[in-house]
Assembly symmetry: C2
């Protein structure tokens, strides 16, 4: 038994994968393997299969194309303009992924054909993928202002200057170091380690790591139409 007189449509999943290498933001792209637009640069995409949800499809595709697993992934929005794909109608549901570039660099380069592009030097993308990236970047800026999601882009151990660089890069601005440090530390998200990163300065900067429990709690809370105590509890 089926629904009659209704049109069935191809459903694709496309993931906007952001990374940060310590100094700049990058986007992971792949050369499309089939026509049309074969060999052109594309987001990490594929078709939804019969027995999987969209979340599962996004994970599967990311793994197939890059080997990446256990990655931060969140639905962004759907794209459904009737002629967005010239071959036949395809609606795309997009996801945003955040990863620590260095953690997987070897793997991505060696085994797959995905490549990181600096956000300021993106190639032409297929279909409406450019628009997807712009919307994803705006959402990342929005969300990161309220939730500590950018930590997904950092290695397990990172320094305060690295953290500040990452925030400054996203908003294209400079913050006062003292104020930034105070604000970040006041969240209790960070545990200070005993060792220092000596690669980037003579003095060396102490490493910090995420307090995982605090992180999970803080991810859901927010920081104003409503007294904040009502929202954050």
């Amino acid at each position: 038994m089926k629904y009659s007189n209704q049109t069935r449509i191809l459903v694709a999943v496309d993931s906007i994968v952001f990374g940060f290498d310590g100094s700049e933001y990058k986007l992971l792209l792949i050369q499309r393997g089939f026509a049309p637009e074969k060999e052109k640069w594309s987001l990490m995409g594929g078709f939804l299969q019969p027995e999987e949800s969209l979340d599962e499809a996004a994970k599967r595709i990311l793994k197939q194309l890059t080997g990446l697993q256990d990655i931060y992934l969140e639905e962004l929005k759907s794209f459904s303009r009737p002629n967005r794909d010239p071959i036949e109608r395809v609606i795309a549901v997009t996801y945003v992924a955040l990863i620590d570039i260095k953690k997987y660099q070897q793997q991505i380069n060696d085994d797959f054909h995905a490549r990181w592009f600096p956000m300021k030097e993106l190639p032409q993308l297929i279909f409406d993928h450019q628009e997807m990236v712009e919307i994803a970047l705006n959402k990342l800026r929005y969300k990161a202002a309220f939730h500590p999601i950018l930590f997904e882009l950092l290695p397990d151990k990172f320094t305060l200057p690295q953290l500040q660089n990452m925030y400054e890069g996203l908003y294209n601005t400079k913050f006062d170091k003292r104020n930034f440090t105070r604000k970040v530390l006041s969240t209790n998200l960070l545990n200070k380690e005993n060792d220092k990163d000596k690669l980037n300065s003579k003095k060396g900067a102490f490493y910090y790591s995420l307090d995982e429990k605090q992180y999970k709690d803080t991810l859901l809370s927010i920081q104003n139409f409503i007294p904040l105590t009502e929202i954050n509890g």
Copy 2:
């Protein structure tokens, strides 16, 4: 020319339509017109048609089922569990709509079979519609804390007590009247009218209306990992 070896899937649009009648929040539901679950209560839903985008489908379906037009509509998320519909696979993209109940009450009751249910007295809903409503409500609470979207629920002229009731209802709490008034007026969103609402009190409360220009600007701004000046400009 088509993509080969791929499964095409039915795509539905379901809209969670919230209203506020001055004292409580309500949800607009309709009795499903076809099997399965015929006559059961459902969100405003329908299938995506070949020549329309999802946004257009959401608008069309809302108009067909309720006569409503020019309504606040925003994509929520997709729902794609393989067996969410017992007949055949259907993925659903959901939208949230906000409307002033009174403005359309007559129209909805007379010409259509949609009905408003108080949020605390919802009937059983088909499929995963209950989950959709919960997620939509959470998102509304989240977004309304930063953006003045709840004004969509109010008539063109409203009083400060009505406005406060609406906010208190959503967060299930009480605010201090002086602080709330000060905060709302400091946004410059409101223009004071010369007449009063005399229905709800002896003294009468002055009407206010939205400053449309200010409203459009404020909708996009937000109000804390990042100094707010960076975001709001």
